[in-house]
């Protein structure tokens, strides 16, 4: 039995028929065909599938799509709506915060939430906020620097979307 739902994904409405037990992650990847969000552990340990539902973070591998009916879903693809990278995405590139890239979509969503709720986090606050997102490549330092860079550039100029002034390679 399928259930008719409408998901608004990154601002675009998708009328869908979903199985009651289908996860939001599988529906977004297989039916909406946005494959930025990743399946890592598939049981809510790793955060690679993290999305926003009505602005709130969710591990979409462990959330039923049918429950997201009539909500606004934001995936990593929605962070750069005009094909222009968001400041966090730029900072991830500059700081070498991406290696294999599998955790990156969830990291970006998670860090976007953090900076929205806490625009000027301390280093430890960044590490705690991102500790539901596992990265097996980078050792986290570049990711933490990228988030701090964006916070610092915003404090220097609230309108600024500039890339961080000093990259890892220039230090």
């Amino acid at each position: 039995m399928t259930h008719p739902i409408t998901l608004r994904v990154n601002g675009v409405p998708y009328p869908l028929g979903v199985d009651a037990h289908a996860t939001l992650l599988n529906v977004i990847r297989d039916q909406v065909a946005l494959t930025g969000s990743k399946e890592g552990c598939d049981d809510s340990e790793c955060g690679a599938c993290m999305m926003l539902i009505d602005g709130q973070p969710v591990n979409s591998c462990s959330y039923l799509a049918v429950q997201a009916d009539d909500t606004e879903v934001t995936t990593v693809e929605g962070l750069a709506p005009d094909d222009k990278l968001a400041p966090l995405q730029e900072a991830f590139l500059v700081e070498g915060a991406v290696q294999c890239g599998f955790c990156t979509p969830g990291m970006l969503i998670s860090a976007t939430c953090l900076l929205r709720d806490n625009p000027h986090p301390a280093t430890d606050e960044v590490r705690i906020a991102l500790s539901g997102n596992l990265c097996r490549c980078t050792g986290y330092d570049g990711i933490v620097r990228a988030v701090l860079d964006v916070a610092a550039s915003r404090s220097a100029d609230p309108r600024s979307i500039a890339r961080p002034a000093v990259s890892r390679h220039e230090r």
Partner: protein
């Protein structure tokens, strides 16, 4: 019924439960458990996550009412809970990750009835009661009488938890929850303890102490409470209370720790929780979560 329906009222939800459906809100236990292969998802589900009014935190003269859909994120950011029901904030801030705290509900935590869940010991120490909507009207029970075993409660399958109530706290009440954990996020307690104390003229006039992941259910330990009550809350009394809690522990071996380790750590977490609760009752600043502010060489 099979499949999924979305309840728009408590009455619709209770009717669906009576017809055999199981409730789902944030899904952070039910769906995660299914993904882990512990238990497959129920054939019939009723989504309660959009029922209006169940997500409210309401302060009254009698205390504070927490709707069953109140998220851990809402608990953590609520000023009155941080100030007067601090142990609950200590617990909710440790639940899962910020995604879990945004979606996971207090009601789900309570009804999942895990002996390792974080909010249980604080709710017991703070005198929590649970109100259920049932086909024959509302009923209220002390949380002490709700949990009967791992994943087991006295609630019937057609009863929906709608709210948890915590009574008004006396002046100079301090409370704290402390756990041991392997990871800062996406963890439940390896062992944990909560304490709530009332001080009057420097003496402990009331003490509540509960232990987590140390018995088949989260439970109060009367002998530990007696060891603290009537004392000045100094080191010997705290140590006696911690030892009494450890003596009452009936831990198991599982994937997260051995029973031997848990028994050895029971006194440690209890001591930290009691010390932090007393310090807060005295007006000292012990940052939330107490789990982190009491680690290492603290005292």
């Amino acid at each position: 019924m099979t499949g999924y329906i979305r309840a728009n009222t408590v009455e619709e939800a209770v009717a669906a439960l009576a017809a055999g459906a199981r409730p789902i809100a944030g899904g952070t236990d039910l769906v995660v458990g299914a993904r882990q292969g512990k238990q497959s998802l129920p054939d019939a589900l009723v989504g309660i996550h959009r029922i209006p009014g169940l997500g409210a935190i309401t302060e009254t003269d009698a205390g504070i009412d927490l709707g069953t859909l109140v998220s851990h994120a809402a608990i953590v950011s609520h000023p009155a809970i941080r100030e007067r029901y601090t142990a609950l904030a200590d617990a909710s801030v440790l639940v899962g990750s910020h995604a879990t705290r945004a979606q996971g509900t207090l009601g789900g935590n309570v009804m999942h009835a895990s002996p390792a869940m974080d909010t249980g010991a604080p709710l017991l120490c703070l005198g929590g009661t649970a109100t259920f909507a049932t086909p024959s009207g509302d009923r209220t029970t002390d949380l002490v009488d709700l949990w009967t075993g791992p994943g087991e409660t006295t609630a019937g399958p057609d009863e929906l938890l709608v709210a948890v109530h915590l009574p008004a706290s006396a002046q100079a009440t301090g409370s704290a929850y402390v756990r041991l954990q392997y990871r800062r996020h996406m963890e439940i307690a390896v062992v944990g303890a909560a304490a709530a104390v009332i001080l009057d003229g420097g003496a402990v006039t009331r003490a509540a102490i509960a232990i987590t992941a140390l018995a088949p259910v989260i439970r109060r330990v009367e002998s530990a409470e007696q060891a603290l009550t009537g004392t000045s809350g100094g080191a010997p009394a705290v140590e006696a209370a911690a030892q009494a809690a450890a003596d009452a522990a009936r831990p198991i071996d599982d994937v997260r720790a051995s029973a031997t380790y848990r028994r050895a750590m029971a006194a440690v977490v209890t001591r930290r929780a009691v010390q932090a609760a007393i310090a807060r009752a005295r007006g000292e600043e012990i940052p939330i979560p107490a789990t982190e502010s009491t680690q290492g060489s603290w005292r």
